[in-house]
């Protein structure tokens, strides 16, 4: 490693500790006017080129910053697992069974309006994608499921989803259960989502 002279070290430390970008004069106020600050800056700039840190000049002021190509490293994503709301699960199910399907169609099947947030969540999760516009008046956007949806739910294709008859056989279309579910649902958290989003 190349040795740095004391003046260059002083400029380096000053810029590092500074809370804002410094002009040549600002730096000289710290390191002393006998130091050739410009030469020191040039030496440092060359030294840091290609490193994880770079010395940059912006509007005659100098500062250190992390190399732009490493910005992605400085953001760490942390996954927080969150349970999908009832409204979102129902919407996802309708899309899966009826795709491609427009928002109005989803609402017709659900019998309840869906908030904008519900579709956003499903798209953010990567399970639903826009699937073109339907060639009817208003040209509504339709939605369909994704490959990720299939892999998340362990399905080879959408045909693996149980049919209506299967659901009936499994008691999943029993009206009494449904009525109870509805009662339970009304008290739950997505109640406000539904109302908030009605006009969205």
């Amino acid at each position: 490693m190349r040795e740095l002279s004391d003046p260059v070290r002083a400029v380096e430390a000053t810029l590092f500790a500074a809370e804002e970008p410094l002009s040549v004069d600002d730096i000289a106020a710290y390191v002393g006017t006998s130091v050739d600050v410009k030469a020191a800056l040039a030496e440092l700039e060359a030294h840091y080129a290609g490193r994880g840190i770079e010395l940059v000049e912006r509007g005659r002021r100098w500062h250190f910053q992390t190399a732009a190509d490493l910005a992605h490293i400085l953001r760490r994503e942390r996954e927080e697992s969150r349970k999908l709301s009832r409204a979102a699960v129902e919407t996802l199910a309708i899309i899966a069974y009826h795709e491609p399907v427009s928002r109005a169609e989803i609402e017709a099947i659900r019998g309840v309006q869906i908030s904008k947030g519900t579709l956003d969540v499903l798209m953010e999760a990567g399970w639903v994608r826009p699937a073109g516009r339907r060639e009817v008046p208003g040209r509504p956007l339709t939605f369909a499921t994704t490959q990720e949806f299939l892999s998340h739910f362990g399905l080879k294709s959408r045909r693996d989803l149980p049919g209506i008859d299967d659901l009936k056989a499994a008691g999943l279309l029993d009206p009494v259960d449904t009525a109870l579910e509805r009662l339970g649902l009304e008290g739950e958290d997505e109640a406000e989502l539904e109302t908030d989003g009605e006009d969205a």
């Binding site: 430390a13 590092f16 500790a17 500074a18 809370e19 804002e20 250190f64 910053q65 992390t66 400085l74 953001r75 760490r76 994503e77 942390r78 996954e79 927080e80 697992s81 969150r82 349970k83 999908l84 009832r86 979102a88 699960v89 129902e90 996802l92 199910a93 309708i94 899966a96 069974y97 099947i109 659900r110 019998g111 969540v121 953010e124 999760a125 399970w127 739910f153 362990g154 399905l155 989803l161 149980p162 209506i164 659901l167 499994a170 999943l172 279309l173 029993d174 009206p175 259960d177 449904t178 579910e181 509805r182």
Partner: protein
Amino acid sequence: MDPSDEPFETSGDHAPPAREGERLTLDLDGWEGPLDLLLTLARAQKVDLSKISILALVEQYLAFIADAKKLRLEIAADYLVMAAWLAYLKSCLLLPKDPEVEPGPEELALRLQLRLQRLQAMREAGARLVGGDRLGRDVFTRGKPEGLKVVRRAAWTTDLYDLISAYGIVRARSEPTVHIVARRPVMTLDEAIHRVERMLGLRMEWTALESFLPETQDPEFRRSALASSFLAMLELARLGKVELDQADTFSPLYVRAA
């Protein structure tokens, strides 16, 4: 020896030199307890703490306290307790040794010496610690770090069962609903008329209304049958098919074919 002058020459970290009267006042405020005062006096002996004369130290301390008393300075109790103990130690050290007394004065003196050494060691260590290169005073971290960011990303979870059962619920919700009122056990009026007419054909005597009721364990059906049968009787009486007789309000109601 004159105990009053020595401590102050070496106690520069406690108080600046001052005139005698003020000096004592200032210094008493500055001591961190009797052990601290003793340590400062001991350091005035300018020898290694392991070689100090405990006797000389005791005399210095006692003289110091005596001076302070002379000036009527307030002296905290723990300084006086130490003074009393040191006076005792001094007498033990000077008097012929009493083998009965445990621990002996030498051990007490040694203990005091060990405590002074420990306090001294920590005082020096503290000074070196705070005198070192300290962050924010001598060395600095980056003035304005970009900061590392943790981006929270929701990992949405649900499973296939949730999905298909949700679909079942949606479908069931949208199926037309048929309302069926559960049957309650009742005897209709027609039934009751038919039944009473049939039974009257067999009985020509006055008969209590209750004996026309069907045998049942169901109290609701019994009440229904009673009400219907009563109405049936009234209807049949109106048509002149039966006669009714009741002795008094709420007494049994009798019926017979007209």
